[in-house]
Symmetry: C2
Subunit: 664 residues, 2 copies
């Protein structure tokens, strides 16, 4: 069969070097090369097929995931993949599995909180997967408030053991991935009690299942917590429930890097700074931001390609309908998301640098940038995951009716993505943490303490409170300086207004609670500024490739100006810009849409996603959508027979009016 490319004419319109853009998107030629190679490896291996996922029942689905995880590990060993390659391989397999928690939470927890001795004992086992571990923190009644956990770990000096116990129903561990059916071990968080005193929450390594036959050890009850949102999606994961009935573990299975319990049962703090935990948080949240740009770019890739294939209304002279991507309403919804995908990619890249910087400083006992880095990653995690979740659903709607079919890939992408808004810090709780940091920063402005990093602009607060925006004509909104100043003024003014309103309360905590909705808005403004400014910084670098930088400049401006329009209320109410200027920005935005239009398909090609990874009939590289949709439909189990199961019992009696005596 001749190779189809319905999108060839779109691709020929591109005004930039797509291959060079692929390098920019990947971050480096090295990363591109690995991603490209590994993603093709996965795509070409039938064992990693995933297009039937939506149709499988829970048990079948889960067993299939176990098979893929084992196969992936086998391939990793056979091909002697590096850690980086192995991690890419798991990424492109694109199916939540117990391995995510084993590699992403269990091992890092031991590395971060275990002593050298503990690491030497446990890590080699974990690296070889001779044990499989999960991270058992949240409980049925306790999520965000880690200090409220109820599980206890009581030291028994007579036997030199801890007794792990679940005193209530609400103390059941609930949600940990990999726990329900697979993990042999867990890092369990429990209140440490020794000598009759409660020393708060600490981590313990607990064996859960027999290494012989996988059955739960005595005193341990474990199960899966049941179906979650969507077809396929996170139902491939065995999120679990776990209860302890006085389970004993040796004392040396408490993770003792930061605090210890001695043989006599004395609680001792080590001299390792507690701030180290924040370093780990910065790391984890950095990966979440990077994942956001992946999920968002997938959705945008599908919606963009399909918008170029789909035609509706309008009529050129040849009687062919208009491509929906040519409608301004479609562009106005789609292109800001395309721009966001790039924006989140670059801010994620910057966060990687931030993590390295923080780590180096921590090693040199320099904690000065930690609060700012912590607030910044918390805020960016919240901002990017919320925006991505909404964007995936918007992309689904942009695909019209067909976006509702599982074969579009978008329903599963949404369902599998949305937990990111809740895990590793609920997005609203995180915004309040950012707000606390912002209020502290504002309150210290008078004291001469200079704000650092992403809050450095607060140092110019006096200027920003009274500056006025320079934009006089639409093109002025293309200047990075004009955009930055508007975003800085808006953010600074919102923070200062909150601080002033807080000052009216006698009790600051009461004020913080009462004004919390306004405070989250100030946090969002601050975080959007960070993303905008990091995009602008990226463009100050040398970026090779014909037209590549020009396209990125257009996307950067679309990102900023579409936010400016959406959050017009903030900019106007703080007087950061005038209505006239808002309207000019909007005019400029429309013209930017026209500029990005011929490049749209090439800009999503630059993500370099295989059809396997995309997992969408609508987003196929070749745009051959309709024949494939038609083909996919027939695979549904309901089409196994022409006359459906149940016809004789339930449809025929209805038609023949023979219901009256039927037993239904």
């Amino acid at each position: 069969m001749a190779r189809v490319d319905q999108l060839a004419s779109e691709r020929s319109k591109a005004q930039f070097d797509v291959d060079e853009m692929k390098i920019v998107w990947a971050g480096s030629r090295h990363t591109f090369e690995i991603s490209d190679r590994i993603s093709r490896l996965v795509a070409s291996d039938p064992a990693f097929r995933k297009d039937n996922r939506a149709m499988l029942g829970r048990k079948e689905l889960f067993k299939n995931t176990l098979r893929k995880a084992a196969h992936a590990w086998k391939r990793i060993i056979e091909l002697r993949l590096t850690d980086e390659e192995a991690s890419r391989l798991r990424f492109y397999v694109d199916e939540p599995a117990f391995t995510d928690l084993h590699w992403g939470m269990f091992i890092p927890a031991i590395k971060g909180q275990g002593t050298d001795e503990q690491q030497q004992k446990w890590l080699p086992l974990a690296y070889k997967m001779q044990i499989i571990g999960c991270y058992a923190q949240t409980e049925l009644g306790h999520g965000s408030n880690v200090q409220g956990l109820e599980t206890t770990a009581t030291f028994d000096p007579q036997t030199d053991e801890f007794i792990i116990h679940s005193p209530t129903l609400t103390s059941s561990k609930w949600w940990p991935g990999g726990l329900g059916k697979v993990s042999t071990h867990a890092v369990v968080y429990a209140r440490l009690i020794t000598d009759g005193k409660d020393y708060g929450v600490n981590g313990f390594i607990v064996q859960l299942r027999s290494m012989d036959d996988h059955s739960p050890l005595p005193g341990i009850t474990i199960g899966d917590i049941g179906m979650k949102f969507g077809n396929g999606a996170y139902n491939t994961m065995d999120n679990g429930v776990l209860q302890f009935d006085h389970v004993r573990i040796p004392r040396d299975q408490m993770l003792m890097r930061v605090s210890q319990v001695t043989r006599e049962g004395k609680f001792v703090q080590s001299n390792v700074p507690r701030q180290l935990v924040y370093g780990t948080m910065v790391y984890v949240r950095q990966t979440i931001v990077s994942d956001a740009s992946c999920a968002l770019s997938r959705a945008v890739c599908i919606a963009t390609r399909y918008s170029a294939v789909r035609r509706q209304f309008g009529s050129n002279n040849d009687g062919v309908e208009t491509q929906v991507i040519d409608y301004k309403t479609q562009q106005n919804r789609l292109f800001p998301l395309l721009a966001s995908a790039y924006a989140f990619r670059f801010v994620g890249e910057w966060l990687k640098w931030l993590y390295t910087d923080v780590t180096q400083r921590l090693q040199a006992n320099d904690f000065s940038t930690l609060p700012e880095a912590h607030a910044c990653t918390a805020g960016l995690k919240s901002l990017t995951t919320s925006a991505t979740a909404d964007a995936i659903e918007e992309c689904r709607k942009l695909c019209g009716g067909h976006g509702y079919l599982c074969s579009s890939g978008l329903p599963e992408l949404f369902a599998v993505y949305v937990p990111a808004c809740t895990y590793e810090g609920d997005n609203v709780v995180l915004l309040l943490q950012v707000a606390r940091f912002l209020m502290k920063t504002v309150s210290q402005l008078g004291s001469g303490k200079k704000p650092v990093g992403t809050t450095a602009y607060m140092g110019r607060v006096e200027h920003l409170m009274q500056s006025s925006c320079d934009a006089r004509k639409a093109e002025d909104w293309l200047k990075p300086s004009v955009i930055l100043e508007a975003f800085e003024a808006r953010s600074a003014r919102m923070s200062v207004a909150c601080a002033q309103n807080l000052a009216k309360f006698a009790n600051p905590e009461e004020g913080f609670a009462e004004l919390s909705a306004d405070l989250t808005e100030a946090s969002v403004a601050h975080c959007q500024l960070i993303v905008v400014s990091k995009f602008i910084e990226k463009l100050q670098q040398d970026i090779p490739g014909k037209g590549v930088k020009e396209q990125l400049e257009i996307l950067c401006n679309i990102y900023a100006l579409s936010l400016l329009h959406k959050y017009q209320g903030d900019f106007l109410s703080t007087g950061s810009i005038t209505s006239k200027q808002a309207s000019l920005a909007n005019d400029q935005l429309r013209s930017l849409y026209s500029q990005v239009r011929p490049n749209a398909v090439a800009l999503v090609d630059a993500f370099n996603y295989t059809d396997h990874y995309l997992g969408s009939v609508l987003g196929r590289y070749d745009g051959n959508v309709y024949p494939k949709l038609y083909e996919e439909a027939w695979k549904d189990p309901l089409n196994d027979s022409v006359v459906p199961d149940g016809y004789h019992e339930y449809i025929r009696p209805l038609l023949k009016q023979q219901l009256r005596n039927a037993r239904l």
Copy 2:
């Protein structure tokens, strides 16, 4: 076991008569009585159980739906239910099924477009369900643009038949519910061709399947189009694909009320006004608005009750954590949705009146209000369904991690609801229709033609363009006149600004396309005004019951002021209010939240939903959430065995390092 009511203390706080509010919500004592009785009937019948829906495979799920539909029909006959009761029963069964299309589209299409003779022939069969019908309009390549359909119906004068044919792949009928596996008949929309001329799209009654054995008739290919978004949800429906290969039907199966084809093959228009079709649209969209308030209120009921049960952070002196409903961030997200549920309920009720009014006028050949009524229902369909889809997901997020479990009911509610944003008019396409009407209204203002109905305020455009808002202190924002004037000014000014910008284009159609994003925003502003004003009108009626009206006034103000905050940009950029006034409105909003807080649980109790209908462990009436979540978890098929299927093949070899030679 003693009856638990974890929410008793919440209920005792209510400051109004819940039973009276139930009547207000239902619309009348009569409607309340029927809803209450029928919902209990369904809830108490084990045949209508639905809590296992998320776990069923497609075939099992679908067969189960057939069973329920047959059982429902049996009960309707046995109990001799009235049409109203029967329709309520189907509603409370709460499972999309072929019967929705049979009663909701097939029968109305014949009633609306069939001649008296055709109605006499077909309707009795349909009423008794001796035939089952669906509505086959959309095609694989054609959705919103009905005039672009490709299926042909060519008249053959030799045999006095139409030949129905699918000339291309993209002309395959695609999406019709009930088509894939169940319907014996369909109203098929196809291009009428006679005498070599194409007369555009008309409806035809076509038999699809044999009445003997249910197999598709010769020349007809039918199947299901495959899995759709979510667990359970619309997968209970057999949305179908249908292709015709020169299928012949008698001439009298063309629906001939509006146009006919004579025996000789002449196309004739009847004198029945074509506008009648719009009457049907007004009806269908009215029911969609009413459904929006149902879906939204379900989600809000779940989120409100769970927010009162869930505790996190904070600590009263007794060591108990704070109910999350007490956090202002939670209130700020939840209470506007609670208010929206009531707002949509009342605007839906008003639309029922509008439909009656339009129908009476049509019968008297008065078409004067039709364009306004059509624009109004199109806009409200778009506004309420978009807001509801977003709100359900927001409610899910408000339930934290547990909202992600299917047992919360929210994932399925979202998945089953979202198509409402696309079907019966894509929401963006509808907003553009509203915008066209608004632009026309504005352009006619000078001509002395007085705008009617919901656009009457445009008649005061000169005043509204220069009026200034009266609010001087926060409490001024409680005055309906202040709110109305602000919403009217914003909407009028946005429409006028669009009209002025359009005038700058030489080609009006080009201008409309270029400015379409702005135009949709003007439409939204207009539609929000309608909802606000209908809520205010409702409160001008006499509403009995202690405290009932007071609560509704609070909700009305929350609805309006939360919109005012969210769309601050519109209000400020048009100069309809000042920043200071926006800030006062926000202060007032916070104080309204405090007023609604003690009544929140009682306000969702007033929806009178059974636990069966709600289908949510988190939203249980008794608030006994944790034990039931725990209980539900164990029902998952994965928990059938302690050691999972696949352990021996895939987990053990991993742990024992025996992968190398395994065949995976």
